[in-house]
Amino acid sequence: MARPVFGRGNEARATSRITHLDRDRPLVEAARADPQRFDALYRRYLAQVYNFAFYELRDHHAAEDATERTFLSALASLDRFEERARPADGDGASTFRVWLFRIARNAIATERRYRTRHPATDLAAAGAVPDGSDPEAEAALRDEAAEAWRAVAKLPADRRRAVVLRFVDEMSTAEIAGVLGRSEGAVRVLLHRALRSVAGDLTRGR
């Protein structure tokens, strides 16, 4: 016999997730009807895509180029975007943000290939903007931020991407799974191992 209580609970959770993941539907439909309205999606995700590119490439100019390529490509291929309920459904599954970040991942890889001969800028320079009220405290904060970033930069690529998407872009595990093409369980393990490595590095650094 069916268990209606559990069934209703599961349905409610599934509906909630679908609503969350498909939150860009009105903007995507508007942009498909009139490409000029893609601007709303661009403004919503510019900083997130730029952050992802910046943490991966560690250079403002390279991050700008990758960001530009990402949005131009997304606009040109918006008709090919297929909305799916869950990234875990399969390879092609995505919401707009997941789909956009997959484009960004490819754009970043392309950008990295072009810039292999250029030295990367130290990410520590991108720390909190100082307000001048307490230079010593600011310097200490910058040192700590640089230390944390060095620990993250040492991680294998997939663990590093998972950390950036989780902590900087605040993606859910399901969304990261969609971007990286992994299962949600695999992403949870990636993040857990990444945190263990970072914790070890930070402890040794003291």
């Binding site: 490409p35 510019l46 900083a47 952050n51 945190l195």
Partner: protein, 171 residues
């Protein structure tokens, strides 16, 4: 740290739930980070460090507006493409000649169904139909109803035709 005998996926799930609560606390601007006694304290400390130190950066305003302009230009070119009729498709619409009226070449021998290019070329097709209707109306309009200016134009044209015929020896 993973304790011996514990399933690593269970540890990963517990860590993931802690991260959910940590990020949610950040959204609420909570003053204290959430605690989880069952989670390794070094993992909790590392998660809090990353939450604090992996700062968000924003592209420059100049870059944002320059890219917005490029996207707007690209979007405008995407809107122009359909207007050229490039994506038009051929479909069949029933047009009854009796309704359309008799005209030159109308032998009444076909079934009255003609292909019509729609979508991209719809506007130009509508203009062509309007133009044809206007010419047909002008041809059926009696000369006596023409305006004085039209009569003057026709008289001038007739004069030019007569002069040309005289030069050619036709008169």
């Amino acid at each position: 740290m993973t304790f011996p005998g514990r399933d690593p996926e269970v540890d990963a799930l517990r860590t993931d739930r802690y991260l959910d609560s940590l990020l949610a606390a950040g959204d609420r601007r909570a003053s204290h980070a959430p605690a989880d006694a069952a989670l390794d304290s070094s993992l909790v400390a590392a998660a809090n460090r990353l939450r604090r130190d992996l700062v968000r950066v924003h592209p420059s305003f100049r870059f944002e507006e320059r890219l917005a302009l490029r996207l707007a230009e690209a979007a405008a070119s995407m809107r122009l493409a359909p207007a050229a009729g490039g994506e038009g498709s051929v479909t069949t619409l029933a047009v009854h000649r009796a309704e359309a009226g008799d005209g030159p070449g109308d032998d009444g021998g076909d079934d009255g169904i003609h292909p019509l290019l729609i979508r991209g070329a719809l506007t130009s097709a509508a203009l062509s139909i309007a133009g044809a209707a206007y010419v047909a109306w002008r041809r059926t309009r009696p000369a006596s109803n023409a305006s004085p200016m039209a009569r003057a134009v026709r008289a001038a044209r007739a004069g030019r035709v007569r002069a040309a015929n005289a030069r050619a020896g036709l008169d």
